[in-house]
Amino acid sequence: MEDLTEMLKGTLEGCVLEIIGREETYGYAITRRLNDLGFADVVDGTVYTILLRLERNGLVQVTKRPSEVGPPRKFYALNDAGRAELATFWTKWQYVSSRIDTLKEGGA
């Protein structure tokens, strides 16, 4: 689906944390994963800015590894702070989505 940019703002960071939490990975692979998931508008640039923020906020462990093509790649893995942040994200997500469902079903 397209034109999700505005709605995805704020949740993409959580998605990236989740992807990194599964296994250590790098920027382009994360973009591809999100594209395959159906978020067609997500480009590397979007993911890059998120990774930059995660790194700056001390939520990931970064390792440079050689690549078959081009310069070394930065690989990202979650550290303890990152795992805590991911848990918080899912808690918040659960809350928001349940509230919105309630609203949609016409509840309180």
Binding site: G27, Y28, D41, V43, D44, G45, T46, Y48, T49, L52, R53, R56, S67, V69, G70, P71, R73, K74
Partner: protein
């Protein structure tokens, strides 16, 4: 252009420019325009962080994978820049805060 003066003349800056020049032409164009914009907006990351060299790292990876620059940044390059400096205060903001006091 105070920031550029500070950086310029240093070996680091020359090495940085050499890396930019080694990028494919489309990446070079977008890099130059981004740099021009960032110098105008003036985020403090420009001198205190490694914002610009980080962009070159990112561009080198994109170029190596054979993709065009806009595939990597998205077509709204300005939005990409703003995302990059979202957490960085600008010199204009700092000035306004001090003037407002």
């Amino acid at each position: 252009m105070g920031i550029q003066d500070i950086i310029e003349g240093k070996k680091q800056w020359r090495a940085h420019l050499a890396r930019v020049k080694a990028l494919p032409p489309d990446y070079q164009i977008v890099y130059q325009e981004m740099q021009r914009y960032l110098f105008k907006v003036g985020p403090i990351d420009l001198v205190e962080g490694n914002l610009l060299s980080g962009i070159v790292d990112f561009f080198e990876e994109g170029a190596a994978s054979g993709r065009g620059v806009l595939e990597v940044t998205g077509t709204d390059v300005a939005a990409f820049c703003d995302d990059l400096i979202k957490d960085s205060r600008t010199y204009a903001e700092i000035y306004q805060e001090s003037a407002g006091r």
